[in-house]
Point group: C2
Chain length 203, copies 2
């Protein structure tokens, strides 16, 4: 299995010990047989802890959700955000500020959602450094986030709860690095046009 998936044997053993990968069918005291579903699971673990940047604990939680999906897809999204982290702590006042911002957008979110603490910490960090025009930027970012979320949620397959949870976990973890990479590339292009393009007017 390790060879087929291109993963070191020691790593496969580690995933087995950590409960990320289910045991195979024993064929002798020291050998076990692994099927196609093990190879697929191994590929999923690799992207969650690789590109996805999840800790082993977060990956385990994500896989548990895939194995036993919640009956409601809305619940799945909440649980995915809870499980996948990152774990961030925020001061009560910072949390209140994040909640007001979400309310101002008219968004319905769980009041204990870890994404609120992430938002609070990010707002605090921007304040600490002093990003000019922050309030306006946040409003624009929120509008863009709404567009992204509409695409994401419309794309959730409703064929089965298992398909839905798999999409939500992968979509949350893997589309984030995709989005950040695209934003950086688009920034390079936009800065080229603003600062180096043919229309540059001298400062």
């Amino acid at each position: 299995m390790a060879r087929r998936a291109g993963v070191p044997v020691g790593t496969v053993k580690y995933y087995l010990r950590e409960g990320l990968l289910p045991a195979g069918t024993p064929t002798s005291a020291t050998q076990a047989q692994y099927g196609e579903e093990h190879v697929e699971r191994l590929a999923l673990i690799r992207v969650l802890v690789g590109t996805g940047g999840l800790t082993v604990a977060a990956a385990r939680a994500a896989l548990q959700m895939i194995d036993a999906p919640a009956p409601s897809i809305h619940e799945v999204i909440g649980t995915a955000h809870q499980a996948i982290g990152p774990e961030v702590t925020a001061e009560p006042e910072a949390l209140d500020r994040a909640r007001s911002l979400v309310e101002a957008q008219g968004w319905q979110v769980a009041c204990d959602s870890p994404a609120l603490a992430q938002l609070a910490a990010a707002l605090d960090a921007c304040d600490a450094v002093g990003i000019p025009g922050m309030e306006r930027l946040v409003g624009r970012y929120a509008a863009v986030a709404e567009q992204l979320a509409a695409f994401d949620v419309a794309a959730v397959p409703t064929t089965s709860p298992a398909d839905a949870v798999r999409f939500v976990v992968a979509g949350t973890v893997l589309l984030e690095p995709l989005l950040l990479a695209l934003r950086r590339l688009a920034q390079q292009d936009a800065s080229f046009r603003r600062f180096e393009g043919p229309d540059v007017t001298p400062g």
Copy 2:
């Protein structure tokens, strides 16, 4: 200084040793005086390695850019992306795919930009897991990234190269967690509306 900034003394000493924080003015063999600019720098370091999630090496590179900004703001953005990582390696075919995608968008980017490797790795990871409708999602994400980049680049202050580089570093590192938090919160709202709202039509 440590007390004023709410940072443990050992941590301040570590930043001094690592060259993140410049030395103060010596007042005796074992004491030094630190000014307001040290406290500000300390706050910046805290957010870069805290919320920003930078390694100490990446934070050092970011601070060096702030201390000695490149003369062209377009160059600053490229250097910031180079310095701030994350470091990702991608196969040549995956990189070609990322380049074609960027070309299809009509974006002008440096052909050795690390964001290309980040995009390539993210696309590969999505393929490995099998996200349905991926091509369409990528196109939509790219369009949204273009909007974000337009806001970001328009907001870069041109008052001085130092102001510009400070904004670019902080904007790249700190607006990323902000964007991801907003996307997750907007997803919860969108999923509430799609799956739990009053208009839900059965299966």
